[in-house]
Subunit: 208 residues, 2 copies
């Protein structure tokens, strides 16, 4: 039964290639690890490994988690230094080692914490917190990241509540606007650019 609120949702055309890559590389637990690039307030790039936490329900938005105290959250909240807003503030590079495929996905990255205005995203954040492991949850109670470590730094805090996320827990959402797919195993390599324009995805085969 459909309700008036139900939104039509279409899988983006690159989703099937990504699903296939995840499936074919599933024997390697690190196949869900990828590199997330953002831009620092001084205009220099930052790049770190994050874990793919699935797609937000009924959307093409990728989920990650982050500590509110980490630098990447600052990088998202800062005002852009350039006069015009940049078209996107993040690009992930996701390389699958077994099948030798690369997905470069760029778009708008946003951070969802307890103060977010959309109730459905607050609920998604809470649901995500409940799904992660105990050890992943514990890290959000660790001392402040990147502070000087001392022998008094407490890395054995009491376990956080497994139902309600702490203030330090952020859900990151990447809304893809461009996907650059490369398969190194083709002869020659295969490369396809997907672009989101006018509420629709275009697909173009290009030279590798």
């Amino acid at each position: 039964m459909t309700t008036p609120l139900e939104v039509t949702f279409e899988l983006a055309p690159w989703r099937s290639a990504l699903s296939r890559a995840l499936h074919r590389n599933r024997a390697q637990p690190f196949c869900r690890f990828l590199q997330l690039a953002t831009v620092r307030s001084d205009g220099s790039p930052a790049n770190r490994t994050v874990v793919f936490r699935g797609f937000l329900e009924s959307s093409n938005r990728l989920m990650f988690i982050s500590d509110r105290r980490s630098e990447k959250i600052d990088q998202l909240h800062q005002e852009p230094q350039t006069p015009n807003r940049t078209p996107f503030n993040a690009e992930i590079c996701w390389y699958f080692t077994k099948t030798r495929e690369q997905f470069r996905i760029s778009g708008q990255l946003s951070s969802i914490d307890a103060s977010h205005s959309e109730v459905s995203l607050i609920a998604a954040r809470q649901h995500l917190w409940q799904r992660i492991s105990d050890s992943a949850r514990l890290q959000f109670a660790w001392p402040h990241p990147k502070d000087v470590r001392t022998k008094d730094s407490n890395f054995e805090p009491s376990a956080p509540d497994s139902q309600m996320p702490p203030a330090t827990f952020c859900m990151l959402l990447l809304t893809p606007l461009n996907v650059d797919y490369l398969s190194l195993s083709g002869e020659p390599q295969d490369r396809i650019i997907y672009s989101y324009q006018d509420a629709d995805w275009t697909r173009q085969v290009v030279n590798p």
Copy 2:
């Protein structure tokens, strides 16, 4: 015998950790693959996989290769949009899957082609060209990257000269200024920040 021209060279303190990681992960050919982040002219981040080609002789500078026609070369040559020069224009993220170690190395990335003024770097570029595989060399004779691919696109050009690099071949050099090392296998994780300041490296253990 030393000559007056011989420059004292010290291995940076993070080099031993990186060498050990490369050694311990050597069974995985992709352990030399890493992700290189730069900033586009519109201020948005770019991120792609590149292959580590060793260190420039008697230096701590990392070598990669790139096609002159690729976008990352444009990203290096453009003038910075921000009033002050950014401290660095690239950050690599290098994750070793077996030992679960991450090196984030940021610094100044430069591109060396045949027109470069330093003779020693021209020679290093030529030497690097001679060392790469035939199939890697062939890619520099392929049609223009990212142009629309047609059935007439010729991906079987005649093999380039194996001694003299073509104009499309660039050696990329990353001069590290900051290294953020993280080991996920520690209990808790180990994180060390190395910074290059006043012609010397500092080392600080920080919270993960």
